[in-house]
């Protein structure tokens, strides 16, 4: 059910990511101010955007779960959030590397995307303890969905608030995500973003398939045990 289209999707992912890598190192020019460091931007920012998109998608799946009662939507929501949290770890680590290389500190409060992401990440980390401390499976799924929707609505609000605050206390030093990118950089960025999105969807489908198979297996085992 979940693995439909997985093979061509994986192929597209490999192609796009390889192309993105090639473009980052052979096509995109070096940034005038930041130099070679700026190349981190092509992996850090797409990861952040895709992770945030994954959180919002988790909220949308959760809405469908609550409306339909169909547990497969809850599974889709859980896996999306789970993967976004993993990506989030990557965002924070690559963000720290970028900060260290650019400003000499492992963390800076200047970048509103990074700061907002930290808050979102801290929030979503609570998803696991919340989910797994509720024993009844139906209730677990429902409460998780409520959380996913609340947190999903929170993401844009939080980003707006942090951005507003940072623009007052720290003038925007970095405007990498702004529209002032030269064309070849922008193209490279878009390809990297596409590759990251495809990667997310591919791995999402992969994990969905594995989880679904594992759940079915458990059901079959229980049935076999009962029959014996």
């Amino acid at each position: 059910m979940y693995s439909k289209g997985l093979a061509p999707l994986a192929a597209a992912t490999v192609v796009t990511i390889t192309a993105a890598f090639a473009m980052v190192f052979f096509y995109a020019p070096n940034d005038a101010d930041q130099g070679f460091i700026q190349k981190i931007f092509y992996v850090h920012v797409p990861m952040a955007i895709v992770a945030l998109g994954g959180f919002v998608a988790g909220g949308v799946f959760a809405i469908r779960h609550l409306r339909s009662g169909d547990p497969s939507w809850d599974l889709r929501s859980y896996v999306a959030i789970h993967m976004s949290i993993i990506l989030g770890v990557g965002v924070l680590i690559t963000g720290a590397i970028w900060a260290k290389a650019s400003w000499g500190h492992w963390w800076v409060w200047d970048e509103p995307v990074l700061v907002s992401f930290l808050v979102v990440f801290l929030l979503y980390c609570v998803y696991y303890p919340l989910r797994f401390s509720i024993e009844d499976p139906g209730r677990q799924a429902r409460y998780s969905s409520v959380f996913a929707i609340t947190a999903g609505a929170f993401v844009p609000l939080n980003f707006a608030a942090v951005r507003m605050a940072e623009s007052f206390t720290h003038p925007r030093v970095l405007s990498q995500t702004g529209g002032s990118m030269p064309g070849d950089m922008r193209l490279t960025f878009l390809v990297a973003l596409l590759g990251m999105t495809l990667l997310f969807v591919t791995l999402w489908k992969l994990e969905l398939t594995a989880k679904h198979a594992s759940m079915q297996l458990k059901r079959m085992r229980n049935r076999a045990r009962v029959a014996a």
Partner: protein, 224 residues
């Protein structure tokens, strides 16, 4: 629906008036935290951003206590099953609980804000008092709405005392940002609002989004 909400609200307020469990503790907590900040920051008087930050962080931490205890009465006396069996709309329950939390927080603020002015605030409160009230109002609304939602979300988990602060504080980050930024120019020596409209706008948006969201989603909680 409003009638049901009012009944539940009256019950909660009566319980609180009789047992006095939440509000005095929350108020005492805020004053204790002010003393903590006095020693922690090694300052006799604060103004501007420090004052604004200390005030709002303290209020948020007190709110965590209030949220943890929001459904305590129902849990301890098994009242939640009674509420759920009665043909009461979950929305009424949310309105009642959120209003109760709002009123509790206002009661705390009635003491905590003057106490803050007394203990830690350098310039007085009078500089831009109506603006301060506006920020307090919209901020407390947001805290109450999200607090009621988190209280319900955490109501069924075993790890309630851990989950409530971990959920509530990140969710209230935009409220903290907006309120602290808005309050900062109001607590300076030469007090006067700056960009107040922008922050009040953000707070209003946040309040609307989370009230609507909580109302929509509350039906799926506390079901059995």
């Amino acid at each position: 629906m409003i009638a049901a909400a009012r009944t539940i609200l009256r019950k909660d307020l009566l319980i609180e008036l009789r047992t006095k469990e939440s509000v005095p503790a929350m108020t005492l907590f805020t004053v204790t935290v002010y003393v903590l900040f006095h020693f922690g920051l090694d300052r006799d008087s604060l103004d501007g951003e420090l004052a604004s930050g200390v005030l709002w962080v303290t209020l948020l931490l007190a709110a965590v206590i209030g949220v943890s205890r929001l459904f305590a009465a129902e849990r301890e006396q098994g009242g939640i099953d009674g509420l759920l069996l009665a043909p009461v709309d979950r929305t009424s329950l949310f309105l009642a609980k959120a209003t109760a939390l709002f009123l509790f927080l206002v009661a705390v603020e009635l003491v905590a804000v003057p106490a803050f002015a007394l203990l830690l605030l350098g310039p007085g409160l009078g500089g831009a008092f109506p603006e301060l009230l506006a920020v307090l109002l919209l901020g407390t609304l947001g805290i109450a709405a999200v607090g009621a939602l988190v209280a319900a979300l955490a109501a069924e988990t075993r790890a309630r005392e851990l989950v409530v602060p971990l959920l509530l504080l990140p969710l209230l980050m935009p409220v903290l940002i907006a309120c602290a930024q808005a309050t900062e120019p109001l607590l300076r020596q030469d007090a006067g609002p700056e960009d107040l409209g922008r922050w009040l706008g953000l707070l209003s948006l946040y309040d609307v989004v989370f009230v609507l969201l909580s109302v929509a989603v509350f039906d799926f909680l506390l079901e059995d």
